[in-house]
């Protein structure tokens, strides 16, 4: 069903969020009154500030616009252009980058006869075999499991929203997704690679691997996804499906 208007007849035409012109042509043919001139506009709403509890009357937000609390100036909500579509594209990119980043070595270090390579997982394994169980578990969590989980959850939420399908437990998965975001620390790890690189550069031969570049790109796609993912847009699309 179209997210903007409650009409069950036009589900197929609305699969592609970008094809707005086609949609409005179909709407005209179906005789549906288009509510707003621009479907991508986020309608006005009452929202309480998460940080100071003030009730704000949030005006309609054009794509790219954002609203801040009148009292404490914290961000209330944004309307990132094509939020769902953009996030889905970035999450698919993240999936491939994540696989590459964790399959290959990000640094090679040593003397010509004795080269060591490491992926993040083998780094965690060497911590574990040293008996650093707590640290190994923590690094595994914030470096591998949570970033991967974030991608899987993102696909589970975004792909059905994009296709206009309903999936079980979507609401709980969205809630989980917002919590997992905080514990995925790819960007910190990328800076960690840089610091380790500078530290080791003078000791012996040191070469960055393909995975280091994949991690750097993954940092960009995940940060971009975070800035394009607006909970209100996600909830609105989900509500329009049910």
């Amino acid at each position: 069903m179209c997210p903007g208007h409650a009409h069950p007849g036009c589900s197929v035409e609305c699969i592609h969020g970008g094809l707005r012109r086609l949609r409005s042509a179909v709407d005209r043919r179906c005789g549906i009154a288009t509510i707003a001139a621009d479907d991508d506009q986020l309608p006005p709403a009452l929202a309480a500030c998460h940080e100071c509890d003030l009730l704000n009357q949030v005006p309609a937000l054009a794509p790219g616009a954002s609203a801040r609390c009148a009292r404490c100036n914290s961000l209330l909500c944004r309307n990132p252009p094509n939020s769902i579509e953009r996030c889905l594209a970035l999450t698919v990119s993240s999936l491939f980058l994540f696989i590459v980043a964790n399959s290959y070595a990000f640094l090679r270090f040593g003397t010509p006869g004795n080269m060591r390579t490491t992926t993040l997982v083998t780094g965690v394994v060497s911590l574990w075999t040293e008996g650093q169980y707590l640290l190994a578990a923590l690094i595994m969590m914030v470096g591998v499991i949570m970033p991967g989980f974030l991608i899987v959850l993102g696909l589970y939420v975004l792909l059905p929203l994009y296709l206009g399908r309903r999936v079980p437990d979507a609401a709980d998965v969205i809630r989980l997704l917002m919590h997992v975001r905080e514990w995925a620390m790819v960007e910190v790890f990328v800076v960690g690679i840089l610091v380790a690189y500078v530290k080791l550069a003078n000791m012996a031969e040191l070469l960055p691997g393909v995975s280091a570049y994949a991690f750097a790109l993954l940092m960009i796609t995940q940060a971009w996804t975070n800035s394009s993912l607006e909970p209100r847009v996600v909830w609105r699309r989900l509500a329009a499906l049910s």
Binding site: A48, F109, G110, L138, I174, G192
Partner: protein, 209 residues
Amino acid sequence: MSGPMLTARDAGLAVCHDCGQLVRLAGDHHHCPRCHAAVHLRRPNSIARSWALLISAAICYIPANVLPVTVVDALGKTQGDTIISGVLYFLHHGDWPLALVIFTASIAVPMSKIAMLMYLLVSSQRRSVWRPVDRTRVYRIVELIGRWSMLDMFVVTILVALVQLGFFATMHAGAGAPYFGAVVVLTMLAAQQFDPRLIWDAVEARDDR
């Protein structure tokens, strides 16, 4: 915004922590109709929980700095490095940009985070009405910078994995490393538990009087 300032609580509404849905409160237990999270007017026992986590973090911060985070076995000698000695090493070798990065992530961020959270907790407990906008901003900064302290733990992981040159140099994680990891996690949890709306509740209480 025109008219008097009305908060969600004044209107008998609670905000879902997870999805922002406004929920009308009636009865004792509430779950968000949209995302099924538990809904409270304010985070329950926010200050007590936040203090508990923060004090634990402060305790862990001592062994995290006193004990070595990395141990190097080189040419038959064993040398442990704490976070501070690591920063000093790079400073003495003229590599001040690297010293600055490690100092910021491993010393400045955790210390200022603990100090800022303590200040927020004390001022909220004392029902301070001083500069609420700035104190809310402090809270936002605390939430934003917390994760960056994990930097040194990632670096330790990479070094331990790579520096295995047999007799010449082998690196291990030191006893302080897990404590440092614990500081990062505990301060992040403490920041999550703190409810910034408590800052504003005190302001409203004064305005009502």
